[in-house]
C-alpha cells in the first residue's frame, strides 16, 4: 500500500491541474505584454483591444463572373443585415435607412454646421431658393424635391455630405464595391463585439461563413476574410493546429529515439511522465494566478519539453549494475537539483507585476520545472523495479573516451573563437532587435498580406494615427474635441493631413447646438425675410410653411444627446468615436493622410486645456514592444546573476562555477551570431528561447564538470547528454520548420543553442576544471 501512495498523490495532483486547465480561457491579445500605469499606454491598450478598427471584418469575394460576384455581394449584405448581429454591413449599395434619414432631418438645424445668423437673411434665403430652383431643373430632381418645402436652405444635404464625406469610397461595379482591378467584390462588416472579445469575433466570422454558404450556393464565388478579429481567431486556430501537429510529431520522434537508444518500451512512458507533469503544473499555475492563459505562453510551453525530457534521460543513462534506482538518483541528485534550481532562478527574474505576459512565462516554467524534477526524483523510482535497467543501451562505449579526453588547446581555441565572435558582433553591430509588433504576432504572413490588400481596396482606416481626448463627461469630451477639430480644419487647409473623423462632426456639443439655436430667427422675422426672398420666384404661396414650423420648433428643441442615437446606424458611428471608459469619456479623432506625425503631435493644442493625446498606434506599439524587450533583457540579466549565485552555492567552488558556466556563455555568443548571420532579428521569442538555452546549457556544463573520476560514469554522462541533445534537436528542429514566426523563432534558437551548448560543454568544461585544479 505504501508503494502506491506517491503515484496516487501524483495522479490526484495531475487530475486537479487538468480540471483547472479545462476551465481557463486562452487569450490571444498582445496587450498582456504591455506595461501598465502609463496614461498614453492605457489609451493605446483600449484602442488595441476595442478601438474602431478592431471591429472591422474585411470581406473579399473572388472567382466566377463579375456579375455573380456582385450578386453574391448584394445577397450576402442583405442576409447579414437581416441577421442583426452586425453593427454595419457596407458594400457600396447601402443607403441610410428611411427612419434614420428622418431623424437626421428632424434635428437638421441643431446638427448642421452651416447654420449661422447670415443663413436666414433675405439675400441668403433668396440665393438658396434660386439654387433649389436650379436643382429642380436637373434630371435628378425627382430624388431631392420631397425635402424642399421643409428644408429650402438644404441643411439635410450638408449633413448627408458630412456622413458620407470622409470615407474614401472604393471603386464600384454593378452598384457594389470592387477592388480596383475588378477581381474582388468588397464588403465591410462591423461587429458589435470588440476586437478582443474572441468569442464574439468567432461568432461573427462563423455568421459570415454561414451566410456566405447560403447565398453563394450554385456559384463558384470564394470568400476571403480579414481584420483584427478574423486574424485573432484564425491565429488561435493555426497556432493551436500547428502546435498540436508539431508536438505530436516531436513526441513520436522522441519516442523513437528513446526506444532505439534504450531498447525498452518502459523508457517511453516513464520518460513522458515528468514532461506531462510539467505541462499540467505549469498551465494550472498560470491559470490560478492569472485567470487566463496567453496563447504565447502555450506556444512557449513547447520549449519546456526540451528541458523536462532531460531529467529522466539522466537517470536512464546513469543506471548501472549493482545499485538501485534510488541509489542512482541519490548520486545524481546534487547535480539534478542544481540544474533545476538554476532554471528556476533564471525564470524567477521574469516575474514582474506590471508585465503580466512575461510573468506568465516565468510562472509556467517555474511550476513546470518543479513538477518535472519532483516527478523524476520521487515518482519514477516508485514506478521502476529497484534493479531496473534499460535492456540494452545502444551507443555507450569505449569510443567515447576519445571524445571525453580533455584537450586544453581545443578548449582554449573555442574560448578564443567565442571571444572573437563577440568582438565581431560588437564592432559590426548588425541590426539586432525586431521591434515591429507584427513580428510578435503569431499570424501567418500570407494572412497579413491578404489583410493589406483588402484594406487598401476598401480604403479602410489603417491602424494608424489618431488623437484621443479624455474628459469626465460626454459633453466636455465633445467640447474639447471641437477645439481640436477646429485646429485640425486649419491644418487640413495647409495640407498637413488629408482628413479626420470626429464624433463632434456628427454630434456637436450641446454648447454648440445652443449657439446654433440662438442663431435661428423668430417666426415673424423669418416670415418677412422669406417673403422678400421669394419675391418674383415661381414657388407656390404657402409652400414653405413646413420650413417656418421647423425653425420655430428647433428654437426650443432640447439639444441632441448621444443617448438619442442609441441603436441606430448613426449612433453606432458616433459610439465608436465617443464612448465611456473606466475613467470618464474618450473622444477619438482618427486621422488620415498625415504628412508629419511628429509635428502634429508636438503642436497639438495645449493638452492641459483639452486633455488631447496624439497616438501614433504603430510607433507607440513598437515603442512598447522595444520597451518591453528592454525590460525582459534587464530581467534576464538579473536571472544570469542569480544563476551564477546559485551555481556557486551548489558547488562552493569558483573553479566549478567557471567550468560550468563558461561553455554556455560561449555557446550563447555562437547562437546569437548564427541567428544574426541567418538574417534573423531578435524578438521576444528569441530572447525567451535564449533563456531556455541558458538553462539547458548550464545543465550540460554541470554534468560535464561533475567530479566523477570513474570513466564509466563519465561515459554514462556523455551518453545521457547525447540523448538529451539529440531529442532536443528533434523537437526544436521540427519547430524551426514552422510557418509561424513565433514557433520558428523558438525552434531555430533552441536547436542552434542546444547544439552549441553541447559542443562547448564537451570541449571546455573538463579542461577548465582540470587546468584550474
Amino acid at each position: 500500500m505504501r508503494r502506491w501512495r506517491i503515484p496516487l498523490i501524483w495522479l490526484l495532483a495531475a487530475l486537479l491541474c487538468g480540471g483547472i486547465i479545462l476551465k481557463t480561457p486562452v487569450a490571444t491579445d498582445l496587450t498582456l505584454f504591455v506595461p501598465r500605469a502609463d496614461p498614453v499606454a492605457e489609451l493605446l491598450l483600449e484602442q488595441l483591444r476595442s478601438g474602431p478598427t478592431t471591429r472591422l471584418i474585411l470581406i473579399g469575394l473572388t472567382g466566377d463572373a463579375e456579375s455573380e460576384r456582385a450578386a453574391v455581394s448584394r445577397r450576402l449584405a442583405e442576409s447579414l443585415r437581416a441577421s442583426n448581429s452586425f453593427v454595419r454591413i457596407a458594400n457600396g449599395a447601402d443607403a441610410l435607412p428611411e427612419t434614420e434619414l428622418q431623424t437626421l432631418f428632424a434635428h437638421r438645424y441643431l446638427l448642421s454646421p452651416t447654420v449661422s445668423p447670415e443663413r436666414f437673411t433675405p439675400d441668403a434665403l433668396r440665393a438658396a431658393l434660386r439654387q433649389r430652383l436650379r436643382e429642380l431643373q436637373s434630371p435628378l430632381a425627382a430624388v431631392q424635391k420631397r425635402w424642399l418645402p421643409a428644408d429650402p436652405t438644404g441643411e439635410l444635404l450638408t449633413l448627408l455630405k458630412r456622413w458620407q464625406g470622409e470615407i474614401r469610397e472604393p471603386a464600384k461595379r454593378l452598384g457594389v464595391w470592387f477592388s480596383p482591378n475588378g477581381d474582388r467584390a468588397l464588403l465591410l462588416a462591423e461587429t458589435g463585439a470588440a476586437g478582443y472579445d474572441l468569442a464574439g469575433q468567432r461568432h461573427a466570422v462563423m455568421a459570415i461563413r454561414a451566410a456566405f454558404a447560403k447565398v453563394a450556393a450554385g456559384t463558384t464565388v470564394a470568400l476571403q476574410m480579414s481584420g483584427p478579429g478574423v486574424i485573432a481567431t484564425l491565429a488561435e486556430d493555426t497556432v493551436r493546429a500547428e502546435a498540436e501537429l508539431l508536438s505530436i510529431l516531436a513526441t513520436l520522434g522522441i519516442m523513437l529515439i528513446l526506444v532505439l537508444v534504450y531498447r525498452s518500451a518502459r523508457t517511453v512512458w516513464i520518460g513522458a511522465l515528468p514532461m506531462l507533469a510539467a505541462l499540467l503544473a505549469g498551465a494550472a499555475a498560470v491559470d490560478l494566478l492569472f485567470g487566463k492563459m496567453y496563447a504565447l505562453t502555450l506556444a512557449f510551453s513547447m520549449t519546456l519539453l526540451g528541458e523536462t525530457l532531460d531529467y529522466p534521460t539522466y537517470l536512464f543513462s546513469h543506471r548501472q549494475a549493482g545499485e538501485t534506482v534510488w541509489d542512482t538518483l541519490r548520486g545524481l541528485w546534487p547535480t539534478l537539483r542544481l540544474c533545476a534550481a538554476t532554471t528556476l532562478l533564471g525564470c524567477l527574474a521574469m516575474i514582474a507585476p506590471d508585465v503580466p505576459g512575461l510573468s506568465q512565462l516565468g510562472v509556467f516554467t517555474i511550476a513546470g520545472i518543479i513538477a518535472a524534477v519532483t516527478t523524476t526524483r520521487w515518482l519514477l523510482p516508485v514506478l521502476l523495479p529497484p534493479d531496473w535497467r534499460p535492456a540494452r543501451v545502444i551507443g555507450a562505449g569505449i569510443w567515447m573516451d576519445t571524445l571525453l579526453k580533455p584537450r586544453p588547446w581545443r578548449a582554449l581555441a573555442v574560448g578564443v573563437g567565442g571571444l572573437l565572435v563577440l568582438l565581431a558582433l560588437l564592432i559590426k553591430a548588425p541590426p539586432v532587435w525586431e521591434d515591429d509588433i507584427a513580428a510578435l504576432s503569431p499570424v501567418p504572413r500570407e494572412l497579413l498580406r491578404l489583410d493589406q490588400e483588402l484594406r487598401s481596396g476598401l480604403g479602410a482606416p489603417e491602424v494608424g494615427q489618431l488623437i484621443a481626448v479624455t474628459a469626465p463627461d460626454a459633453e466636455t469630451a465633445l467640447q474639447q474635441s471641437e477645439i481640436v477639430a477646429a485646429w485640425l480644419d486649419a491644418r487640413q487647409q495647409e495640407g498637413l493631413l488629408a482628413g479626420y473623423e470626429a464624433a463632434a462632426r456628427y454630434l456637436p456639443s450641446q454648447q454648440t447646438q445652443r449657439q446654433r439655436q440662438a442663431h435661428l430667427p423668430d417666426l415673424e422675422a423669418l416670415t418677412a425675410n422669406l417673403a422678400r426672398a421669394a419675391e418674383g420666384l415661381p414657388f407656390q404661396p404657402g409652400l414653405f410653411t413646413p420650413f417656418l414650423d421647423a425653425i420655430a420648433a428647433a428654437r426650443t428643441a432640447p439639444p441632441v444627446q448621444p443617448e438619442d442615437w442609441r441603436g441606430t446606424l448613426l449612433g453606432t458611428r458616433i459610439g465608436i468615436l465617443l464612448f465611456p471608459g473606466e475613467r470618464g469619456w474618450t473622444a477619438l479623432l482618427p486621422l488620415s493622410g498625415v504628412k508629419n506625425p511628429q509635428w502634429l503631435a508636438a503642436n497639438l493644442p495645449s493638452s492641459q486645456a483639452t486633455h488631447a493625446f496624439y497616438l501614433d498606434l504603430r510607433a507607440e506599439t513598437n515603442r512598447l514592444v522595444s520597451g518591453f524587450r528592454a525590460t525582459a533583457l534587464q530581467r534576464l540579466t538579473w536571472g544570469v546573476v542569480l544563476i551564477v549565485a546559485v551555481v556557486w552555492m551548489g558547488l562552493r567552488s569558483w573553479r566549478g562555477v567557471i567550468a560550468a558556466l563558461t561553455p554556455v556563455t560561449v555557446a550563447l555568443i555562437f547562437t546569437v551570431a548564427v541567428l544574426l548571420s541567418l538574417g534573423e532579428r531578435l524578438s521576444l521569442f528569441h530572447l525567451v528561447s535564449l533563456l531556455l538555452v541558458l538553462g539547458i546549457g548550464v545543465d550540460y556544463g554541470l554534468f560535464f564538470s561533475r567530479p566523477a573520476a570513474d570513466p564509466v560514469q563519465r561515459r554514462q554522462t556523455l551518453h545521457a547528454l547525447l540523448v538529451c541533445c539529440g531529442s532536443a534537436l528533434t523537437v526544436f528542429g521540427m519547430l524551426a520548420t514552422s510557418e509561424l514566426p513565433a514557433l520558428r523563432a523558438i525552434g531555430l534558437t533552441v536547436s542552434i543553442g542546444v547544439a552549441a551548448s553541447f559542443s562547448t560543454a564537451l570541449v571546455m568544461a573538463r579542461p577548465i576544471l582540470i587546468r584550474m585544479g
Binding site: Q131, L136, A142, P149, A171, G175
Partner: protein
C-alpha cells in the same frame, strides 16, 4: 349571334395584332439604329406642383452611335450631361464637373438608357430596364417605357416617346406624384 361572331373574330385576330405591333417595333428599332449621328435642339417644359408656372429649359442634344449621348442645356443656366459608354459626366455652373460610373449607380442607368438605347435602336438594352408598350406604325409611333425596378418606379412612373420613322419627336417623363416634364426635339 352576330355580336359573338365579332368577339370571335377579334379573338382570332388578337395574336395577329400583337405580331403586327411587334414587327412595327422591330422595324422602328431598325430605322433608329440606322442613324449614325444626330444633333438637334430641344425645349423642355417641366410642370411641378410646387411651382406656379412651368420651368422651361432649352439647349441641344448630340448623339453618336452607338453610345454617346449629350444633353447640353443653354437656358436658363448652362448644364451639361454627357453619357459615353459606362460613364456619365455632369457639369453644372456651380457644382463643377463630376464623373459617375453608371455601373456604380443602378438608379441612373435606366434614365440614361431610356433615350440613348432608344435612339440606338437597342431593344435588348431597353428591355433590361423597362416594360415596352408600342403603339402605332413606323410612320407615327408611341413607345411607352415602364420601369421594371421598384426603386426606379419610385421616381419615374413612365417615359413616353413619340416618333416618326427614325426620328424621336418628344420624350415625356411622368413622375408618380403627377409632376411631369415634356422634352420636344426639333431639327434645325
Amino acid at each position: 349571334m352576330k355580336r359573338w361572331a365579332g368577339v370571335f373574330a377579334s379573338l382570332l385576330c388578337w395574336p395577329l395584332t400583337v405580331v403586327a405591333t411587334d414587327e412595327a417595333l422591330t422595324e422602328v428599332m431598325r430605322m433608329l439604329a440606322g442613324v449614325r449621328s444626330l444633333e438637334v435642339g430641344f425645349r423642355e417644359e417641366k410642370t411641378l406642383a410646387m411651382l406656379q408656372q412651368p420651368l422651361i429649359a432649352t439647349g441641344r442634344l448630340y448623339y453618336q452611335a452607338p453610345a454617346y449621348w449629350r444633353k447640353q442645356t443653354v437656358q436658363p443656366q448652362p448644364e451639361d450631361y454627357v453619357a459615353d459608354g459606362d460613364w456619365l459626366t455632369v457639369e453644372t455652373s456651380d457644382g463643377g464637373r463630376r464623373d459617375f460610373n453608371l455601373n456604380g449607380y443602378p438608379q441612373l442607368r435606366p434614365l440614361v438608357e431610356a433615350i440613348r438605347a432608344t435612339q440606338a435602336g437597342d431593344r435588348a438594352a431597353l428591355e433590361r430596364y423597362y416594360r415596352l408598350d408600342f403603339q402605332g406604325a413606323p410612320a407615327e409611333w408611341t413607345l411607352r417605357l415602364t420601369p421594371l425596378d421598384s426603386t426606379a418606379a419610385h421616381y419615374v412612373a413612365a417615359i413616353v416617346m413619340h416618333g416618326r420613322n427614325e426620328r424621336i419627336l418628344s420624350v415625356e417623363t411622368l413622375e408618380p406624384d403627377g409632376d411631369r416634364s415634356l422634352m420636344t426635339l426639333e431639327l434645325h
